[in-house]
């Protein structure tokens, strides 16, 4: 049983919801700030973050990256494949999310 506090919902520009583990989301410094900030922002309270400027495929890739990064950090060295055509947008998202 996954508790609600252990997951975070990320919502793309198109309204797709990605429910991922909280610790995966914390890979992003921006998300980490949003979810742990001392003040009571809506994100902290609902455990839900809306990204009006990130499209669904990019957000999906980002989520994949979060999990891959966790694995990588625990010593499993695999390659993370990125399709060339989404590189730029992904780059911008990464900058935004500070990952």
């Amino acid at each position: 049983m996954v508790r609600k506090e252990d997951t975070v919902t990320l919502i793309s520009a198109e309204g797709f919801e990605f429910i991922i583990d909280r610790k995966a989301a914390l890979v992003s410094n921006t998300l980490k700030n949003m979810l742990t900030s001392a003040g009571s922002f809506t994100e902290t309270e609902l455990g839900e973050v809306r990204f009006p400027e990130i499209s669904t495929p990019i957000l999906e890739k980002v989520c994949q990256y979060f999990y891959w990064s966790l694995q990588f950090a625990s010593g499993k060295e695999t390659e993370f494949h990125i399709e060339p055509e989404m590189t730029l947008e992904l780059l911008m998202a990464a900058n935004y999310l500070h990952t």
């Binding site: 410094n29 921006t30 700030n33 949003m34 900030s37 001392a38 003040g39 009571s40 922002f41 809506t42 994100e43 902290t44 309270e45 973050v49 809306r50 990204f51 009006p52 400027e53 060339p84 730029l88 935004y96 500070h98």
Partner: protein, 735 residues
């Protein structure tokens, strides 16, 4: 397997959406500004982090970073000015509360603002080298609140007032204090120092300057130290509760300086309660307190040490030169030992075994022990007393402790050779009269002396022990021979100790006519001894022997008298006559006058042991006296020991004589040292020779420079040395 061919990858310039609302920046900033207001109003729960972050992100991305930063600065300043007005308005005790409350609000808000402006912090701030948001917030707080003229002084005064109130015994809100000092520390070490620590230290200095003055007037030294210690602990306690650890050394040094450093001299010299009386009264706790407090000040220990040394010297000097004390050498040494024990104990229990104090103690002892030229003699007498009777029934370890203590005093002596001289005399007496209790103790002391001063020092002493042993063997051989070939009975039994000349302290010129009965036995021994040891010369040391006589008195009472050889010679005269004059005795025995008088004194004038009577009855022996056999002599004991009136302590002329001998003995030693030095140095000036000689001979005695000079002159006369022809101060060694 063929690899898929990689397509050449082309990066196209990113096409920005150029159609931007010209009022975009204004609008975005408005959103953020409102958010900041909301945050400061503690109303942030409706805000979306992502939205604010995205807006700030976009502003920075679209090169409006500067506008964002400046806006933030202005908005925050506004809020802080508002805070400052509120804080100023707070009355009395609420001031700090208000300040503290606003500080925590600001902190919270600052954190949130920093979070949403994180992107700006990451890029714009770094690229244009501005102060990061968090630090900016702290700086603004520092400048608008803490250093605001109306708050700055009030804050400092309030803090100092609280500390002062706590020092005078009030209870204050330590938690609040801690929060405020922490705030100052958060604003930077410099702020903490400037706004609080420095005035705090100044105030403490003033406070303790006045208080120490009051304490000095109202309490004695011990009390003062207790109060000072309590104050010191209070300050340390204060630091742990609401100051920063780095303040501890500073504040304690203020207390040290004001309470201890400035008054050290006054404290140690305080009448009836200062260091001296603490030492005299064995106030271990007070002394320990003084030590631990004074140690905190640079010259503190030195002050204690100096006064202790001078006090000790004073006490020791009185002890050593007091003519009353000189009457009993054993008591004299015992007092020295007691004094040493006392101070050892003080140093051990109160001065944490401080090496420098031990050294001071040693040097003080060395100083005053050598003030009295008779110390070496007395120490030897003390040992003599202990080894004769003092150690009866004492365990081996205790003997060792006593001996160790004596050795410690011995180490202080400068004139070790004088000690050796006396020790030799005393040891000789002990050995010859068979009075020594423990052979082990004797030997143990010799070993100690040997380790202290080397083989040379003790070789003669050891020679004495060897003589004793060989004598025992010789006597066995002699008596078995006597038993074999002589008619038993009438002849007196003879016991001889053969002593090597040189090893023993001999008094030359000791002569006396032995009674014929004795003489014949002596001759027999002489022939026996010389038959086994050819080429030797035997001389009788009649002044050192003893004899056991069987005497029958008037009422038929029989007693065995234990007497010296001289006394025996005198008493033997009374076998022939009941009445003999002094002159007759002197003529018949040929005993030196001084010895004879002493021996007659002990025979005729000691109550209970007067085997002779004297006419006329008087206290002194005169040359016209007549001596009679005391028929009425009675004693409860069968064996009567008649001790010669020996001057335990040396009389004045004897002392002179010993002194003379010592000086005589020193001459060759000094000469030998000079020759040794000159042989290696070839050329040396006078002062250097003197200092080198002193150094070489230090272990045995402290040579007098005048004597050294004389020795040098004598060596020049005998052409071992010559003066340099040009520089008259230089000496040359002539091989």
């Amino acid at each position: 397997m063929s690899q898929p061919k990689k397509k050449p990858f082309k990066i196209e310039p990113f096409k920005h959406k150029v159609e931007m609302d010209p009022r975009y920046a204004e609008k975005t900033w408005k959103i953020l500004e409102d958010a900041i207001h909301e945050i400061y109003n503690r109303n942030a729960s409706g805000l979306s982090f992502e939205e604010l972050y995205r807006n700030a992100y976009n502003m920075v991305l679209h090169k409006y970073g500067e506008k964002l930063y400046a806006g933030l600065e202005t908005t925050m300043t506004q809020h802080l000015q508002e805070f400052s007005r509120v804080i100023e308005a707070a009355q009395g005790g609420l001031f700090l509360e208000e300040l503290n409350g606003k500080w925590s609000e600001h902190n919270k808000a600052l954190q949130m603002i920093r979070d949403i402006l994180m992107y700006m912090d990451r890029t714009y701030v770094q690229n244009s080298s501005k102060t990061p948001v968090h630090e900016l917030g702290l700086n603004l707080w520092r400048d608008t609140i803490v250093r605001c003229p109306t708050i700055k002084d009030r804050l400092r005064d309030t803090l100092l007032d609280l500390v002062h109130r706590e020092r005078t015994g009030e209870v204050i809100n330590r938690g609040l204090m801690r929060n405020i000092t922490k705030m100052l520390m958060d604003l930077g070490v410099a702020v903490y120092e400037e706004e609080f620590e420095k005035p705090f230290l100044d105030a403490a200095a003033d406070f303790y300057r006045i208080e120490s003055q009051q304490f000095l007037e109202s309490s004695d030294c011990a009390d003062y130290l207790k109060k000072a210690e309590r104050r010191l602990n209070e300050e340390m306690d204060r630091v742990t509760h609401y100051l920063f650890p780095r303040s501890e050394p500073k504040i304690t040094s203020v207390v040290d300086r004001e309470m201890i450093g400035h008054h050290m001299k006054l404290l140690v010299e305080m009448e009836n309660s200062g260091l001296v009386s603490m030492l005299t009264d064995d106030k271990y706790d007070d002394l320990a307190r003084m030590y631990s407090l004074f140690r905190r000040v640079t010259t503190g220990l030195q002050t204690i040490r100096d006064l202790m040394t001078s006090h000790l010297r004073e006490v020791g000097k009185n002890l050593v030169v007091d003519p009353e004390r000189l009457k009993d050498p054993v008591e004299f040494v015992q007092r020295l030992l007691d004094e040493k024990d006392k101070y050892d104990r003080i140093i051990r229990s109160s001065f944490s075994n401080d090496k420098t104090f031990q050294n001071a103690l040693n040097s003080a002892f060395e100083y005053f022990i050598n003030l009295n030229a008779r110390s070496p003699e007395f120490i030897s007498l003390f040992v003599d007393d202990k080894l004769r009777k003092g150690l009866k029934g004492v365990s081996e370890e205790d003997i060792e402790t006593v001996l160790d203590k004596v050795m410690m005093l011995f180490r202080y002596l400068q004139e070790k050779d004088v000690f050796e001289k006396y020790y030799k005399q005393h040891l000789a007496k002990r050995l010859l009269s068979g009075r020594t209790i423990s052979d082990d103790a004797e030997r143990s002391l010799i070993v100690k002396l040997k380790t202290e001063c080397g083989y040379q020092f003790t070789s003669k002493l050891e020679g004495m022990f060897t003589d004793m042993k060989t004598s025992r063997d010789t006597m066995q051989g002699f008596s078995s021979m006597m038993a074999n070939c002589e008619q038993p009975g009438e002849a007196p039994t003879l016991s001889v100790q053969v002593l090597t000349t040189g090893s023993w302290p001999t008094q030359s010129g000791a002569r006396c006519n032995l009674p014929t009965e004795i003489l014949s036995v002596c001759d027999k021994f002489k022939t026996y001894y010389l038959s086994t040891h050819t080429g030797r010369r035997l001389t009788w040391q009649t002044n050192m022997g003893t004899a056991d006589l069987k005497a029958t008195f008037g009422n038929g009472a029989r007693h065995e008298l234990n007497v010296s050889t001289y006394q025996m010679c005198v008493l033997m005269l009374f076998n022939m006559a009941d009445k003999v004059t002094y002159r007759e005795i002197e003529q018949a025995t040929d005993i030196p006058a001084a010895d004879l008088k002493r021996c007659l004194q002990s025979l005729a004038l000691v109550k209970g042991k007067n085997v002779l009577r004297k006419e006329p009855m008087s206290k002194d022996i005169n040359e016209d006296d007549v001596f009679l056999f005391n028929d009425k002599f009675a004693s409860k004991l069968y064996k009567v020991k008649i001790s010669t009136v020996v001057a335990q302590k040396e009389s004045e002329p004897e002392k002179q004589e010993t002194r003379q001998k010592v000086e005589e003995d020193r001459k060759p030693q000094i000469e030998a040292a000079i020759v040794r030095i000159m042989k290696s140095r070839r050329v040396l000036d006078h002062n250097n020779i003197v200092s080198e000689v002193t150094k070489q001979l230090q272990a045995r005695f402290l040579p007098n420079p005048a004597v050294i000079k004389k020795r040098i002159e004598s060596l020049i006369e005998r052409e071992f040395l010559e003066r340099d022809k040009v520089d008259r101060k230089l000496y040359r060694y002539l091989a």
